[in-house]
């Protein structure tokens, strides 16, 4: 498993602490308590994969993911949610707004797999972008 820079966004500090504790030894984990904080972090740091909670006050997780898709398309997007049944979330995956939806309580292996898959996707997307910019305009 490659070392990945993760940004976890949740309005509950206890969850951020828990996530950092669980994944902090394998990856670099940055935390943000709100969508606004997350956007600050994204501006300042190169993040590989962001794991965003669905239900947050002020800017919801979906709002944040939508903004990220426009401003930071190179960052992988994963949704975390504690809601057992939200049919509208499946649409987010269909619309490619997220590459994975993880339910709380999570299974560590499932999170690892989602991170690995999303990171692979991000790496490919970056490679394609670099190739495009390398080709340059056709004379």
């Amino acid at each position: 498993m490659p070392h990945v820079t993760l940004l976890v966004v949740d309005d509950d500090p206890a969850l951020l602490r828990t996530f950092a504790r669980t994944f902090g030894k394998r990856h670099e984990v940055l935390a943000a308590e709100s969508g606004a904080d997350a956007l600050h972090v994204l501006r300042a740091r190169a993040i590989d994969v962001a794991l965003v909670d669905y239900a947050m006050p002020a800017m919801s997780g979906v709002d944040l993911l939508r903004r990220m898709a426009v401003i930071h398309p190179d960052v992988g997007r994963v949704l975390l949610t504690a809601y057992a049944d939200l049919p509208e979330l499946a649409e987010l995956k269909g619309a490619q707004l997220v590459s994975a939806i993880l339910a709380k309580p999570w299974d560590v292996a499932e999170v690892d797999a989602a991170i690995a898959r999303t990171f692979q996707l991000v790496t490919m997307r970056r490679a394609v972008r670099d190739m495009r910019s390398g080709v340059g305009p056709v004379e």
Partner: protein
Amino acid sequence: VSVPIRAALRRLAALVPGRARRDGEAGAHLPTRDELAASLRAADRLAAVGRLSRGLSHEINHPLAIVRANIEFAADELARGTSTVAEIRAALEEASAATLRIAQVVKDLSAFAREPGADPGPADLGAVIAQVVRLVHAELAARACVEVRVPEAPLLVRGSAQSLAHVLSRLVLDAASAYPPDLPLERAVVRVSAERRGAVVVVEVRDQGLPIPAEVLPHVFEPCFQAIAGFSSGTTGRGLGVSLSVCRDLVEAAGGALEVESGNPAGTTFTLRLPPASAEAPLRLRPPTAPPRPRERVLVVHEEPVALASLYRLLSDRFQVVPHTSPTHVLSLLGAGERFDALVCDLALREVEARAFHGGVRRSAPELASATVFLEAPSAPAPEWVRALPNPRVAGTSRRELVDAVTRRLARADPAPAARTPA
């Protein structure tokens, strides 16, 4: 539903209390009026619990994630031996604290679902509203936000806390469903306020959503009206409970009144007028936590995520803690105008040396540089440049020492930072 059927059903509903056996009369097959009223209330409470179920799954799954992940972490680390005892203990404490949150959810829910009985009160409205907000918050999280305005001192009214919680949760959920689902959160606001006005205590639940249609408004308190009129599936998106008449009955049983105003020009306001309880009356329900006050934003910079997490633990119940593992990033935030009330800074930074970092802080936000508390490792005493500063230094992670040091620094610093992100 066509008008004649609707009228017939309404007549039937009006007959129901009349058909019920009066208390004390002979006859075993018909329920008493009180029993009927109680079953109607129970049905309404169950409907409300049903409406809360999605939110409740969230309120349980979220702390459960914390419990599971920390227990698994502790088990793995015990097997691997790569973490210290303190780290493992912190994880288990975190799991234990999260189980208390689940217990609170279950407690709120069972208090809510129980038949209140003849509790004359008094009830503290601040505590009742806090309980209601806890219950409905997850249900509303993704579609509306609740703004609460209550006085800091207890606001005691006659009547049962449980009945009032039933009424208020119903009204808050209804108010939230008056907003279209796609509206941005900041525009879908439900305002709950309570205050004493002369001889009455007035509670208002207000929304700015779709109003109740004028032709419907005079009937909303009729028994079974919504079930009959298809009100819930109609134009407003409101209401799924048995009836607002249950709410009105509960409020009237407490000696109060429930009124509604809608569509003038937009939105709906439900107003409860309740008789205050005398201040000498015993307090049945205390506020579960201190009244919320704006918390100072404390920036904590530490490059180790686990140490950062433990600092978080120490500070986050007193302050709004913003943790960062990257000092360079913090400098760019400060450079961009982001402001904090205090800074807790580890001295063993690697990305940028602590001295250069603190110098950068001083250039962008001088008030934050003076509101800084340094963390020194017990094995590595603070260097000369730190000792030359008036800022306090804290070794290890004694909670009281750290909180005291931050509080003292806050008291010295300028009171109003220039820019603040909303809490």
